[in-house]
Amino acid sequence: MSKPRNRLLHLAMPWLVVAGLVTFWHASVIFFQIPTFVLPSPAAVFSAFQEYRPIILHHAGFTLMNTLTGFALGVMLGVTLGIAIGTLPLAYSGLYPVLVGFNSVPKVALVPIIVLWLGIGQPTAIATAFILCFFPIAVNVATGLATVEPEVEDVLRSLGASKIDILRKIGLPRSLPYFFASLKIAITLAFVGTVIAETIASNEGIGYLIIQASSQFRVPLMFAGVFVIAAMGVCTYVVFALLERKLTGWAMRGK
Protein backbone atom coordinates (compact mmCIF):
# COMPACT_ATOMS: atom_id res chain seq x y z
CA MET A 1 0.00 0.00 0.00
CA SER A 2 1.56 3.30 -1.08
CA LYS A 3 -1.28 5.76 -0.66
CA PRO A 4 0.67 9.05 -0.41
CA ARG A 5 2.65 8.23 -3.55
CA ASN A 6 -0.58 7.33 -5.32
CA ARG A 7 -2.07 10.69 -4.35
CA LEU A 8 0.96 12.53 -5.62
CA LEU A 9 0.72 10.69 -8.90
CA HIS A 10 -2.94 11.69 -9.21
CA LEU A 11 -2.04 15.34 -8.65
CA ALA A 12 0.76 15.15 -11.20
CA MET A 13 -1.32 13.33 -13.84
CA PRO A 14 -2.89 16.37 -15.58
CA TRP A 15 0.55 18.01 -15.88
CA LEU A 16 2.06 14.82 -17.20
CA VAL A 17 -0.67 14.55 -19.83
CA VAL A 18 -0.20 18.19 -20.88
CA ALA A 19 3.57 17.74 -21.04
CA GLY A 20 3.09 14.60 -23.11
CA LEU A 21 0.74 16.32 -25.56
CA VAL A 22 3.04 19.34 -25.94
CA THR A 23 6.02 17.08 -26.56
CA PHE A 24 4.08 15.07 -29.13
CA TRP A 25 2.93 18.30 -30.80
CA HIS A 26 6.43 19.73 -30.90
CA ALA A 27 7.91 16.52 -32.25
CA SER A 28 5.23 16.26 -34.95
CA VAL A 29 5.78 19.83 -36.12
CA ILE A 30 9.52 19.19 -36.47
CA PHE A 31 9.22 15.70 -37.89
CA PHE A 32 6.60 16.54 -40.54
CA GLN A 33 8.07 19.99 -41.15
CA ILE A 34 4.67 21.64 -40.70
CA PRO A 35 4.86 25.32 -41.68
CA THR A 36 4.23 27.83 -38.89
CA PHE A 37 1.18 29.37 -40.60
CA VAL A 38 -0.56 25.97 -40.49
CA LEU A 39 0.47 24.77 -37.05
CA PRO A 40 3.11 26.61 -35.05
CA SER A 41 5.25 24.62 -32.66
CA PRO A 42 4.67 25.07 -28.90
CA ALA A 43 7.97 26.96 -28.75
CA ALA A 44 6.74 29.41 -31.39
CA VAL A 45 3.45 29.87 -29.50
CA PHE A 46 5.34 30.51 -26.29
CA SER A 47 7.67 33.06 -27.88
CA ALA A 48 4.64 34.80 -29.44
CA PHE A 49 3.14 34.95 -25.95
CA GLN A 50 6.37 36.45 -24.58
CA GLU A 51 6.62 38.95 -27.40
CA TYR A 52 3.03 40.21 -27.17
CA ARG A 53 2.55 39.65 -23.47
CA PRO A 54 1.33 43.16 -22.53
CA ILE A 55 -1.18 43.17 -25.39
CA ILE A 56 -2.39 39.63 -24.68
CA LEU A 57 -2.78 40.32 -20.98
CA HIS A 58 -4.68 43.52 -21.69
CA HIS A 59 -7.13 41.67 -23.92
CA ALA A 60 -7.31 38.74 -21.51
CA GLY A 61 -8.22 41.12 -18.68
CA PHE A 62 -11.01 42.56 -20.81
CA THR A 63 -12.34 39.09 -21.63
CA LEU A 64 -12.13 37.95 -18.02
CA MET A 65 -13.92 41.07 -16.80
CA ASN A 66 -16.78 40.64 -19.28
CA THR A 67 -17.06 36.94 -18.58
CA LEU A 68 -17.25 37.39 -14.82
CA THR A 69 -19.77 40.23 -15.11
CA GLY A 70 -21.99 38.23 -17.45
CA PHE A 71 -21.57 35.20 -15.23
CA ALA A 72 -22.56 37.14 -12.09
CA LEU A 73 -25.72 38.36 -13.82
CA GLY A 74 -26.35 34.82 -15.03
CA VAL A 75 -26.05 33.45 -11.50
CA MET A 76 -28.56 36.00 -10.21
CA LEU A 77 -31.14 35.29 -12.90
CA GLY A 78 -30.44 31.56 -12.85
CA VAL A 79 -30.91 31.24 -9.10
CA THR A 80 -34.07 33.35 -9.14
CA LEU A 81 -35.58 31.37 -12.00
CA GLY A 82 -34.44 28.10 -10.45
CA ILE A 83 -36.11 28.89 -7.13
CA ALA A 84 -39.30 29.99 -8.87
CA ILE A 85 -39.47 26.92 -11.10
CA GLY A 86 -38.48 24.55 -8.32
CA THR A 87 -40.98 25.81 -5.75
CA LEU A 88 -43.99 27.18 -7.62
CA PRO A 89 -45.84 24.62 -9.76
CA LEU A 90 -47.37 27.42 -11.83
CA ALA A 91 -43.94 28.87 -12.62
CA TYR A 92 -42.80 25.39 -13.57
CA SER A 93 -45.64 24.85 -16.03
CA GLY A 94 -45.30 28.34 -17.45
CA LEU A 95 -41.58 28.89 -17.62
CA TYR A 96 -39.95 25.53 -18.10
CA PRO A 97 -41.07 24.87 -21.70
CA VAL A 98 -40.23 28.46 -22.64
CA LEU A 99 -36.76 28.12 -21.17
CA VAL A 100 -36.13 24.84 -22.96
CA GLY A 101 -37.21 26.47 -26.21
CA PHE A 102 -34.96 29.43 -25.58
CA ASN A 103 -32.03 27.21 -24.75
CA SER A 104 -32.33 25.27 -28.00
CA VAL A 105 -31.67 28.45 -30.01
CA PRO A 106 -27.96 28.59 -30.98
CA LYS A 107 -26.79 31.66 -29.13
CA VAL A 108 -24.43 32.72 -31.91
CA ALA A 109 -27.57 33.54 -33.86
CA LEU A 110 -28.53 36.02 -31.16
CA VAL A 111 -25.28 37.96 -31.17
CA PRO A 112 -26.14 40.08 -34.25
CA ILE A 113 -29.42 41.03 -32.55
CA ILE A 114 -27.63 41.94 -29.36
CA VAL A 115 -25.16 44.04 -31.36
CA LEU A 116 -28.11 45.85 -32.87
CA TRP A 117 -29.35 46.73 -29.39
CA LEU A 118 -26.15 47.21 -27.42
CA GLY A 119 -23.61 48.16 -30.08
CA ILE A 120 -20.07 46.97 -30.46
CA GLY A 121 -17.95 46.22 -27.42
CA GLN A 122 -18.33 45.42 -23.76
CA PRO A 123 -22.12 45.39 -23.22
CA THR A 124 -22.60 42.91 -26.06
CA ALA A 125 -19.88 40.60 -24.70
CA ILE A 126 -21.40 40.72 -21.22
CA ALA A 127 -24.91 40.10 -22.53
CA THR A 128 -23.80 37.12 -24.60
CA ALA A 129 -21.95 35.56 -21.66
CA PHE A 130 -25.03 36.15 -19.51
CA ILE A 131 -27.47 34.61 -21.99
CA LEU A 132 -25.33 31.52 -22.42
CA CYS A 133 -24.74 30.78 -18.77
CA PHE A 134 -27.97 31.28 -16.82
CA PHE A 135 -29.83 28.26 -18.18
CA PRO A 136 -27.86 25.40 -16.57
CA ILE A 137 -27.95 27.25 -13.25
CA ALA A 138 -31.73 27.66 -13.37
CA VAL A 139 -32.30 24.03 -14.34
CA ASN A 140 -29.96 22.64 -11.69
CA VAL A 141 -31.29 24.77 -8.84
CA ALA A 142 -34.84 23.83 -9.85
CA THR A 143 -33.90 20.15 -9.93
CA GLY A 144 -32.34 20.35 -6.47
CA LEU A 145 -35.49 21.94 -5.10
CA ALA A 146 -37.93 19.68 -6.90
CA THR A 147 -36.28 16.48 -5.70
CA VAL A 148 -36.61 17.13 -1.97
CA GLU A 149 -37.84 13.89 -0.37
CA PRO A 150 -41.56 14.26 0.38
CA GLU A 151 -41.08 12.60 3.76
CA VAL A 152 -38.67 15.29 4.93
CA GLU A 153 -41.18 17.86 3.81
CA ASP A 154 -43.92 16.03 5.73
CA VAL A 155 -41.85 16.07 8.90
CA LEU A 156 -41.45 19.83 8.64
CA ARG A 157 -45.01 20.55 7.58
CA SER A 158 -46.41 18.61 10.51
CA LEU A 159 -44.37 20.92 12.73
CA GLY A 160 -46.16 23.87 11.20
CA ALA A 161 -43.34 24.97 8.88
CA SER A 162 -44.22 27.52 6.20
CA LYS A 163 -43.15 27.22 2.56
CA ILE A 164 -40.37 29.70 3.25
CA ASP A 165 -39.18 27.64 6.23
CA ILE A 166 -39.05 24.52 4.09
CA LEU A 167 -37.16 26.37 1.37
CA ARG A 168 -34.64 27.76 3.85
CA LYS A 169 -34.11 24.67 5.98
CA ILE A 170 -34.26 22.01 3.30
CA GLY A 171 -34.65 23.22 -0.27
CA LEU A 172 -31.74 25.61 -0.51
CA PRO A 173 -29.13 23.57 1.38
CA ARG A 174 -30.17 20.53 -0.60
CA SER A 175 -29.84 22.27 -3.96
CA LEU A 176 -26.40 23.68 -3.13
CA PRO A 177 -24.49 20.75 -4.68
CA TYR A 178 -26.63 21.06 -7.81
CA PHE A 179 -25.90 24.78 -7.84
CA PHE A 180 -22.15 24.30 -7.68
CA ALA A 181 -22.20 21.62 -10.33
CA SER A 182 -23.98 24.11 -12.58
CA LEU A 183 -21.51 26.91 -11.77
CA LYS A 184 -18.69 24.85 -13.20
CA ILE A 185 -20.63 24.40 -16.43
CA ALA A 186 -21.89 27.98 -16.48
CA ILE A 187 -18.49 29.64 -16.09
CA THR A 188 -17.09 27.80 -19.12
CA LEU A 189 -20.22 28.71 -21.11
CA ALA A 190 -19.77 32.34 -20.08
CA PHE A 191 -16.26 32.26 -21.57
CA VAL A 192 -17.68 30.82 -24.77
CA GLY A 193 -20.24 33.64 -24.89
CA THR A 194 -17.73 36.41 -24.34
CA VAL A 195 -15.29 35.13 -26.92
CA ILE A 196 -18.01 34.60 -29.53
CA ALA A 197 -19.23 38.16 -29.02
CA GLU A 198 -15.69 39.51 -29.18
CA THR A 199 -14.92 37.74 -32.43
CA ILE A 200 -18.08 39.21 -33.98
CA ALA A 201 -18.44 42.64 -32.47
CA SER A 202 -15.61 44.05 -30.39
CA ASN A 203 -12.42 46.06 -30.60
CA GLU A 204 -10.98 44.44 -27.53
CA GLY A 205 -10.74 41.06 -25.86
CA ILE A 206 -9.11 37.74 -26.68
CA GLY A 207 -11.75 36.95 -29.30
CA TYR A 208 -10.94 40.19 -31.12
CA LEU A 209 -7.20 39.50 -30.76
CA ILE A 210 -7.56 36.08 -32.36
CA ILE A 211 -9.59 37.45 -35.28
CA GLN A 212 -7.00 40.21 -35.81
CA ALA A 213 -4.12 37.75 -35.62
CA SER A 214 -5.93 35.49 -38.07
CA SER A 215 -6.39 38.26 -40.64
CA GLN A 216 -2.65 38.98 -40.41
CA PHE A 217 -1.65 35.32 -40.50
CA ARG A 218 0.02 35.56 -37.10
CA VAL A 219 -0.84 31.99 -36.29
CA PRO A 220 1.37 31.62 -33.17
CA LEU A 221 -0.40 34.64 -31.67
CA MET A 222 -3.80 33.01 -32.33
CA PHE A 223 -2.67 29.91 -30.50
CA ALA A 224 -1.31 31.98 -27.64
CA GLY A 225 -4.77 33.57 -27.36
CA VAL A 226 -6.45 30.17 -27.29
CA PHE A 227 -4.13 29.00 -24.53
CA VAL A 228 -4.77 32.10 -22.45
CA ILE A 229 -8.54 31.45 -22.66
CA ALA A 230 -7.99 27.83 -21.66
CA ALA A 231 -5.86 28.91 -18.71
CA MET A 232 -8.51 31.39 -17.52
CA GLY A 233 -11.20 28.74 -17.93
CA VAL A 234 -9.28 26.21 -15.87
CA CYS A 235 -8.47 28.77 -13.14
CA THR A 236 -12.07 29.86 -12.65
CA TYR A 237 -13.19 26.23 -12.73
CA VAL A 238 -10.72 25.41 -9.97
CA VAL A 239 -11.97 28.31 -7.86
CA PHE A 240 -15.52 26.98 -8.02
CA ALA A 241 -14.43 23.42 -7.45
CA LEU A 242 -12.61 24.51 -4.28
CA LEU A 243 -15.61 26.53 -3.10
CA GLU A 244 -17.82 23.54 -3.80
CA ARG A 245 -15.68 21.24 -1.73
CA LYS A 246 -15.66 23.69 1.14
CA LEU A 247 -19.39 24.39 1.16
CA THR A 248 -20.89 21.07 0.13
CA GLY A 249 -18.40 18.53 1.44
CA TRP A 250 -21.34 16.63 2.93
CA ALA A 251 -22.62 15.80 -0.55
CA MET A 252 -19.40 13.95 -1.32
CA ARG A 253 -19.75 11.98 1.89
CA GLY A 254 -16.30 12.98 3.11
CA LYS A 255 -14.51 11.45 0.14
Partner: protein, 265 residues
Amino acid sequence: MNDFVKLDAVDLRYGGDGGVQALRGADISIAKGEFAAVVGPSGCGKSSLMKLVTGLMPTNGGRITVAGTEVKGPLKIVGMAFQNPTLLPWRRLLKNVMLPLEIVQPHRSRLSRHRAEYVEKARDLLDRVGLKGFENSYPWELSGGMQQRANLCRALIHEPELLMLDEPFGALDYFTREELWGVLQEIWLEKKFTTILVTHDLREAAFLADVIHVMSARPGRIIATHRVDFPRPRTLETTFEPAFVDIVHAIRSQIAQTRSEAKAA
Protein backbone atom coordinates in the same frame (compact mmCIF):
# COMPACT_ATOMS: atom_id res chain seq x y z
CA MET B 1 -65.54 10.25 25.81
CA ASN B 2 -62.47 12.38 26.10
CA ASP B 3 -60.66 11.36 22.95
CA PHE B 4 -57.53 13.15 21.90
CA VAL B 5 -57.60 11.78 18.36
CA LYS B 6 -60.88 10.75 16.81
CA LEU B 7 -61.64 9.50 13.31
CA ASP B 8 -65.29 9.34 12.38
CA ALA B 9 -66.25 7.39 9.24
CA VAL B 10 -63.23 8.64 7.34
CA ASP B 11 -63.01 7.99 3.60
CA LEU B 12 -60.00 8.48 1.39
CA ARG B 13 -59.71 8.03 -2.36
CA TYR B 14 -56.61 8.44 -4.48
CA GLY B 15 -56.83 9.82 -7.98
CA GLY B 16 -60.36 11.21 -8.26
CA ASP B 17 -63.63 9.35 -8.71
CA GLY B 18 -62.32 6.34 -10.57
CA GLY B 19 -59.29 6.09 -8.28
CA VAL B 20 -58.31 3.68 -5.57
CA GLN B 21 -60.42 3.66 -2.44
CA ALA B 22 -57.78 3.64 0.30
CA LEU B 23 -60.01 4.01 3.37
CA ARG B 24 -63.73 3.51 3.79
CA GLY B 25 -65.50 4.38 6.99
CA ALA B 26 -62.49 4.24 9.26
CA ASP B 27 -63.33 4.89 12.94
CA ILE B 28 -60.66 5.20 15.59
CA SER B 29 -60.60 6.80 19.02
CA ILE B 30 -57.38 7.39 20.89
CA ALA B 31 -57.33 8.78 24.41
CA LYS B 32 -54.85 11.41 25.53
CA GLY B 33 -51.57 9.88 26.59
CA GLU B 34 -52.44 6.56 25.03
CA PHE B 35 -50.03 4.50 22.96
CA ALA B 36 -52.01 3.20 19.99
CA ALA B 37 -50.77 0.87 17.30
CA VAL B 38 -52.34 0.37 13.89
CA VAL B 39 -51.63 -2.91 12.13
CA GLY B 40 -52.97 -4.47 8.97
CA PRO B 41 -52.08 -6.15 5.69
CA SER B 42 -49.78 -4.20 3.41
CA GLY B 43 -51.46 -1.62 1.24
CA CYS B 44 -54.41 -1.24 3.60
CA GLY B 45 -53.99 2.51 4.01
CA LYS B 46 -52.07 2.58 7.28
CA SER B 47 -49.66 5.22 6.09
CA SER B 48 -52.48 7.27 4.60
CA LEU B 49 -54.01 7.29 8.05
CA MET B 50 -50.91 9.07 9.34
CA LYS B 51 -51.14 11.74 6.71
CA LEU B 52 -54.82 12.28 7.40
CA VAL B 53 -54.47 12.60 11.15
CA THR B 54 -51.60 15.07 10.83
CA GLY B 55 -53.59 17.07 8.29
CA LEU B 56 -51.02 16.62 5.53
CA MET B 57 -53.74 15.22 3.30
CA PRO B 58 -57.46 16.06 3.18
CA THR B 59 -60.11 13.35 3.60
CA ASN B 60 -62.82 12.59 1.07
CA GLY B 61 -65.42 12.19 3.76
CA GLY B 62 -65.88 11.78 7.49
CA ARG B 63 -64.39 13.83 10.26
CA ILE B 64 -61.06 13.87 12.06
CA THR B 65 -60.58 15.76 15.30
CA VAL B 66 -57.38 16.17 17.25
CA ALA B 67 -57.42 17.78 20.70
CA GLY B 68 -61.04 18.77 20.23
CA THR B 69 -60.66 20.68 16.97
CA GLU B 70 -61.34 19.41 13.50
CA VAL B 71 -58.24 18.84 11.36
CA LYS B 72 -58.29 21.15 8.35
CA GLY B 73 -54.62 21.70 7.59
CA PRO B 74 -51.25 20.51 8.87
CA LEU B 75 -51.13 20.29 12.65
CA LYS B 76 -48.37 22.08 14.47
CA ILE B 77 -47.85 19.85 17.46
CA VAL B 78 -46.75 16.64 15.87
CA GLY B 79 -43.51 14.71 15.98
CA MET B 80 -43.07 12.33 13.09
CA ALA B 81 -40.70 9.51 12.25
CA PHE B 82 -40.75 7.28 9.20
CA GLN B 83 -39.02 4.07 8.23
CA ASN B 84 -36.54 6.14 6.27
CA PRO B 85 -34.63 8.24 8.83
CA THR B 86 -34.75 11.35 6.58
CA LEU B 87 -32.00 13.14 8.47
CA LEU B 88 -30.50 16.08 6.62
CA PRO B 89 -27.05 15.10 5.32
CA TRP B 90 -25.63 18.64 5.58
CA ARG B 91 -26.35 18.90 9.30
CA ARG B 92 -24.41 17.28 12.07
CA LEU B 93 -26.43 15.03 14.36
CA LEU B 94 -27.01 17.62 17.07
CA LYS B 95 -28.29 20.17 14.57
CA ASN B 96 -30.46 17.54 12.93
CA VAL B 97 -32.09 16.74 16.22
CA MET B 98 -32.60 20.44 16.94
CA LEU B 99 -34.32 21.12 13.61
CA PRO B 100 -37.90 21.14 15.03
CA LEU B 101 -36.85 23.80 17.53
CA GLU B 102 -36.13 26.12 14.61
CA ILE B 103 -39.72 25.69 13.42
CA VAL B 104 -42.05 25.19 16.38
CA GLN B 105 -43.11 28.02 18.65
CA PRO B 106 -42.32 29.01 21.35
CA HIS B 107 -38.90 27.38 20.90
CA ARG B 108 -38.36 29.13 17.61
CA SER B 109 -38.19 32.60 19.10
CA ARG B 110 -36.39 31.42 22.22
CA LEU B 111 -33.74 29.36 20.45
CA SER B 112 -31.07 31.97 19.82
CA ARG B 113 -31.16 33.39 23.35
CA HIS B 114 -31.46 30.06 25.14
CA ARG B 115 -29.30 27.98 22.84
CA ALA B 116 -27.21 26.42 25.60
CA GLU B 117 -30.30 25.11 27.35
CA TYR B 118 -31.65 23.54 24.13
CA VAL B 119 -28.30 22.05 23.20
CA GLU B 120 -28.22 20.48 26.64
CA LYS B 121 -31.64 18.99 26.05
CA ALA B 122 -30.71 17.60 22.65
CA ARG B 123 -27.54 16.08 24.10
CA ASP B 124 -29.54 14.44 26.88
CA LEU B 125 -31.95 12.96 24.40
CA LEU B 126 -29.13 11.63 22.19
CA ASP B 127 -27.56 10.18 25.31
CA ARG B 128 -30.79 8.35 26.18
CA VAL B 129 -30.96 6.59 22.84
CA GLY B 130 -27.29 5.61 23.08
CA LEU B 131 -25.76 8.18 20.77
CA LYS B 132 -23.52 9.93 23.24
CA GLY B 133 -20.34 11.09 21.51
CA PHE B 134 -21.90 11.23 18.03
CA GLU B 135 -23.33 14.75 18.32
CA ASN B 136 -20.89 16.09 15.76
CA SER B 137 -21.09 13.24 13.28
CA TYR B 138 -22.88 13.56 9.99
CA PRO B 139 -25.81 11.17 9.55
CA TRP B 140 -24.18 9.38 6.63
CA GLU B 141 -21.27 8.47 8.84
CA LEU B 142 -23.61 6.40 11.01
CA SER B 143 -25.32 3.03 10.61
CA GLY B 144 -29.01 2.77 9.79
CA GLY B 145 -29.87 1.88 13.38
CA MET B 146 -28.02 4.91 14.72
CA GLN B 147 -29.72 7.18 12.21
CA GLN B 148 -33.08 5.85 13.29
CA ARG B 149 -32.23 6.56 16.94
CA ALA B 150 -31.41 10.15 16.00
CA ASN B 151 -34.62 10.33 13.98
CA LEU B 152 -36.55 9.37 17.12
CA CYS B 153 -34.79 12.16 19.01
CA ARG B 154 -35.76 14.64 16.33
CA ALA B 155 -39.38 13.57 16.59
CA LEU B 156 -39.32 14.10 20.37
CA ILE B 157 -37.12 17.13 20.98
CA HIS B 158 -39.95 19.66 20.96
CA GLU B 159 -42.05 17.47 23.29
CA PRO B 160 -44.93 16.98 20.87
CA GLU B 161 -48.41 16.25 22.14
CA LEU B 162 -48.80 13.71 19.38
CA LEU B 163 -46.11 11.34 18.13
CA MET B 164 -46.69 9.63 14.79
CA LEU B 165 -44.47 6.69 13.95
CA ASP B 166 -44.69 5.01 10.54
CA GLU B 167 -42.74 1.74 10.59
CA PRO B 168 -39.91 3.49 12.39
CA PHE B 169 -37.97 0.30 13.07
CA GLY B 170 -38.94 -1.55 9.89
CA ALA B 171 -35.53 -1.39 8.24
CA LEU B 172 -33.54 -2.36 11.30
CA ASP B 173 -32.13 -5.69 12.32
CA TYR B 174 -33.94 -7.79 14.89
CA PHE B 175 -31.78 -6.93 17.90
CA THR B 176 -31.56 -3.19 17.26
CA ARG B 177 -35.30 -3.13 16.80
CA GLU B 178 -35.97 -4.80 20.14
CA GLU B 179 -33.51 -2.49 21.85
CA LEU B 180 -35.24 0.57 20.44
CA TRP B 181 -38.63 -0.72 21.61
CA GLY B 182 -37.22 -0.53 25.11
CA VAL B 183 -35.82 2.96 24.57
CA LEU B 184 -39.09 4.25 23.15
CA GLN B 185 -41.14 2.69 25.94
CA GLU B 186 -38.89 4.27 28.54
CA ILE B 187 -39.23 7.77 27.10
CA TRP B 188 -42.97 7.33 26.59
CA LEU B 189 -43.47 6.17 30.19
CA GLU B 190 -41.78 9.35 31.33
CA LYS B 191 -43.55 11.87 29.06
CA LYS B 192 -46.81 10.07 28.17
CA PHE B 193 -47.32 11.77 24.84
CA THR B 194 -50.15 10.37 22.74
CA THR B 195 -48.59 8.03 20.19
CA ILE B 196 -49.81 6.39 17.02
CA LEU B 197 -47.56 3.66 15.73
CA VAL B 198 -48.15 2.17 12.30
CA THR B 199 -46.37 -1.14 11.91
CA HIS B 200 -46.28 -4.52 10.22
CA ASP B 201 -44.62 -6.09 13.19
CA LEU B 202 -47.30 -7.54 15.47
CA ARG B 203 -44.86 -8.24 18.29
CA GLU B 204 -43.76 -4.63 18.12
CA ALA B 205 -47.36 -3.47 18.37
CA ALA B 206 -48.12 -5.75 21.30
CA PHE B 207 -44.93 -4.81 23.11
CA LEU B 208 -45.39 -1.06 22.86
CA ALA B 209 -49.09 -0.30 22.59
CA ASP B 210 -51.96 0.09 25.03
CA VAL B 211 -54.43 -0.50 22.23
CA ILE B 212 -53.98 -2.22 18.87
CA HIS B 213 -56.29 -1.33 16.00
CA VAL B 214 -56.46 -3.92 13.24
CA MET B 215 -57.25 -2.72 9.75
CA SER B 216 -58.87 -4.66 6.92
CA ALA B 217 -57.40 -5.01 3.45
CA ARG B 218 -58.10 -2.12 1.11
CA PRO B 219 -60.40 -0.20 1.33
CA GLY B 220 -59.19 0.03 4.90
CA ARG B 221 -61.38 0.21 7.97
CA ILE B 222 -60.94 -0.92 11.56
CA ILE B 223 -62.07 -4.51 12.01
CA ALA B 224 -60.90 -5.14 15.55
CA THR B 225 -59.49 -3.34 18.57
CA HIS B 226 -57.41 -5.14 21.16
CA ARG B 227 -56.47 -3.78 24.58
CA VAL B 228 -53.04 -4.85 25.72
CA ASP B 229 -52.93 -4.86 29.50
CA PHE B 230 -49.49 -6.17 30.33
CA PRO B 231 -47.88 -4.21 33.15
CA ARG B 232 -45.18 -1.69 32.27
CA PRO B 233 -42.35 -1.48 31.83
CA ARG B 234 -42.61 -4.49 29.58
CA THR B 235 -39.47 -6.46 28.91
CA LEU B 236 -38.49 -8.85 26.19
CA GLU B 237 -39.46 -11.62 28.65
CA THR B 238 -43.03 -10.33 28.34
CA THR B 239 -43.01 -11.22 24.67
CA PHE B 240 -42.58 -14.90 25.53
CA GLU B 241 -45.50 -15.07 27.95
CA PRO B 242 -48.45 -17.14 26.74
CA ALA B 243 -50.88 -14.20 26.98
CA PHE B 244 -48.62 -12.10 24.76
CA VAL B 245 -48.25 -14.88 22.24
CA ASP B 246 -52.04 -15.32 22.27
CA ILE B 247 -52.68 -11.68 21.36
CA VAL B 248 -50.13 -11.74 18.57
CA HIS B 249 -51.62 -14.98 17.33
CA ALA B 250 -55.18 -13.63 17.41
CA ILE B 251 -54.26 -10.50 15.46
CA ARG B 252 -52.27 -12.53 13.02
CA SER B 253 -55.25 -14.72 12.15
CA GLN B 254 -57.50 -11.67 11.78
CA ILE B 255 -55.09 -10.16 9.27
CA ALA B 256 -54.71 -13.47 7.46
CA GLN B 257 -58.49 -13.67 7.21
CA THR B 258 -58.99 -10.15 5.85
CA ARG B 259 -56.23 -10.82 3.34
CA SER B 260 -57.83 -13.98 2.05
CA GLU B 261 -61.23 -12.28 1.90
CA ALA B 262 -59.71 -9.50 -0.15
CA LYS B 263 -58.14 -12.01 -2.51
CA ALA B 264 -61.41 -13.87 -2.91
CA ALA B 265 -63.30 -10.68 -3.68
